[in-house]
């Protein structure tokens, strides 16, 4: 507690201060960093802490985004009220997908979730739901204005709002994983049989972890939809899931602050690489992903934690 709180608070302070320094476009980028950080955090809990590999979290991101989009455009629900709904919907889907996942070991789960990610855009385009989802065209969402007449630009407000939600979710995740439940999750990851012998209900905990993880990523999806002001099936291809996976690995699979580093990476590196050529972002992702696996398997988060331990000792 004593070692985690000061750095966490100072990062938060810097992020809040950023709202009053940067231009609107850069604030939009920072908003997306926070959004991706929340999405990756969901995967950290599932893959890093609980050991279930998912290559399909883009699906939950899409479900969250669409929940928000549909609620806003079809029923005029205020944007902030869509977040809890998206959380519940995604947790439900996560729980359902967690059920067959129970029977799948590492590789098969990766494969199945990969299939889920590939299939998502097709399902979103389907005619049966076109009335609500807008089919191929997708949905346009208005940017929310700051409430109570606060002297902020819409971008500043949206950034601070996203940051507040993000901070809350990070706090909850940190609290969840460092306690009894977190230790049980890690026990399942490290040795399922021993964990069961210790009296941990594996099926229950694994499906619930899946639900929590899907909930995180889903809320990120709905914040992302508000920030981008647009949801369409083709923005949720398998590449979203792969991007999130890259962010997870680069940040460090089992590191909660790592989610933030991973998010910075996937938001800014493609922009930089894009200036070289259209093919560059994918290639850079691929090379860095493989490099991470060989030289830095615990990611930026893990490397930093080691550094801190060495300095603090």
């Amino acid at each position: 507690m004593r070692t985690t709180l000061p750095p966490a608070l100072s990062i938060l302070a810097v992020l809040v201060a950023a709202a009053f320094v940067f231009s609107d476009y850069h604030l939009f980028q920072l908003t997306m960093v926070v959004v991706y950080a929340i999405a990756i955090l969901g995967m950290t809990v599932l893959t890093g802490i609980n050991g279930q590999i998912s290559l399909g979290h883009g699906a939950f991101y899409a479900i969250g985004a669409y929940t928000t989009g549909v609620l806003i455009t079809s029923w005029n629900v205020p944007y902030w009220a869509t977040l809890p709904v998206a959380a519940v919907v995604c947790a439900g889907f996560g729980f359902l997908i967690g059920l067959p996942a129970l029977r799948l070991g590492g590789l098969y789960l990766a494969l199945t979730t990969f299939a889920l990610a590939v299939a998502v855009p097709q399902v979103l385009k389907h005619k049966a739901a076109e009335q609500w989802t807008g089919g191929v065209q997708g949905l346009v969402i208005d940017k929310p204005d700051p409430p109570f007449g606060l002297p902020l630009s819409p971008d500043q407000w949206l950034y601070l709002f996203t940051l507040a939600v993000g901070a809350l979710i990070f706090l909850l995740a940190w609290n969840l994983t460092r306690g009894r439940i977190g230790r049980a999750m890690m026990a399942i990851r490290d040795h399922a049989l021993a964990a069961e012998a210790m009296g941990i209900n594996i099926a229950l905990l694994k499906t619930r972890t899946f639900a929590v993880s899907a909930m995180c990523t889903g809320v990120a999806g709905s914040l992302g939809a508000i920030a981008v002001q647009f949801v369409a099936p083709d923005s949720f291809t398998v590449f979203v899931s792969i991007t999130l996976f890259v962010g997870l690995v680069v940040g460090g699979v089992a590191s909660i602050p790592g989610a933030l580093f991973g998010a910075v990476f996937i938001e800014f590196i493609p922009n930089l690489a894009d200036q070289v050529s259209k093919a560059a972002p994918g290639a850079v992702y691929g090379v860095i992903l493989i490099a991470c696996m060989y030289v830095m398997p615990s990611g930026v988060g893990g490397a930093l934690a080691r550094l801190v331990r060495r300095v603090m000792r």
Partner: protein, 291 residues
């Protein structure tokens, strides 16, 4: 109605042949290393681009075909030697990471070298009118024949050659194989080369139908996964049967049940159903592990 169903089944068998080849490539790597190659589809697409380049350079189709298969074989061997070797005993997450990285690299390499526009790919069997009473196009017939030849060749290779036996031994029990003098590492590299070559053939057979672009194989890979799992991921024969079955199921479902827009979802449903109902597949061994 019966005519229509028959037509769907026959064209399902034709596409199923492609899935069967890719599924076979997946199973070959899985048997030897217990890794699922997520980059298999991307590798096949890249090989197809190589073939197209050779054809555009003026080579006759079958020369380009052999050239592309040979180059793909070499690429497969090199990838195993350089990238996969150190991953032999790595945890699942690391191998999944490396495969996804490979997928991204090859995909953007295809886009960068051959650009992202959709290209036509020639068929060696002509694009004439449907034959045999309008049931099947000459390309469908030809590609099914090629697929069958490949599958039989692979079978004969593993069953009746010394090298095939050595590769089976290396996959089945690496340490015993090493003790009788088989160079296990090289057998794995050969397996990768063969899988890449089979993928290349599948890519060249499917490209005239779906057209060539860097993401051509994404859906096909998914069906091949479904086929491999349906047949049992450690059984080559099962993978082939599973591939054909998935082709037929996909076509029938697409035509009569869910419509063409949800075809990929059919693959997802097959995967989930197999894994939940019978994880070892139709012909696979049930895996039990000591604790």
């Amino acid at each position: 109605m019966i005519q229509g169903v028959l037509h769907q089944i026959i064209s399902g068998i034709a596409t199923g042949g492609i899935y069967a080849s890719v599924a076979l490539a997946l199973v070959m790597i899985y048997q030897a290393t217990h890794h699922v190659n997520f980059a298999q589809g991307e590798m096949a697409t890249f090989s197809t681009y190589i073939a197209l380049t050779l054809i555009n350079a003026g080579l006759p189709y079958w020369v380009a075909f052999v050239g592309a298969v040979t180059i793909s074989f070499a690429i497969g061997v090199v990838i195993e030697r350089i990238l996969m070797r150190p991953m032999e005993h790595a945890p699942v997450l690391a191998s999944v990471g490396v495969f996804i990285g490979l997928l991204l690299i090859i995909n953007s390499l295809s886009g960068w070298l051959f650009d992202y526009t959709i290209k036509q790919f020639p068929s060696p069997f002509g694009s004439g009118q449907p034959i045999l009473g309008g049931f099947v196009s000459s390309h469908e017939l030809g590609s099914t024949a090629v697929t069958l030849i490949v599958l039989i060749a692979v079978y004969l290779f593993f069953r009746h050659t010394k090298l095939g036996l050595a590769m089976r031994a290396a996959a089945f029990n690496p340490s015993s194989a090493r003790l009788v003098g088989i160079r296990v590492g090289w057998m794995l590299a050969l397996g990768w080369g063969l899988a890449a070559a089979i993928g290349a053939i599948a890519g060249m057979m499917v490209a005239p139908v779906v057209f060539l672009d860097p993401n051509m194989m994404a859906g096909i890979l998914l069906y091949a996964f479904a086929g491999a799992l349906l047949g049992g991921i450690d059984s080559p024969l099962g993978a082939v049967l599973g591939g054909f079955a998935v082709g037929v199921i996909e076509n029938l479902m697409g035509a009569y049940v869910v419509g063409t827009e949800l075809k990929l979802t059919v693959a997802l449903i097959i995967i989930v159903c197999v894994l939940v109902v019978k994880p070892s597949g139709l012909l696979g061994r049930t895996v039990t592990s000591r604790v």
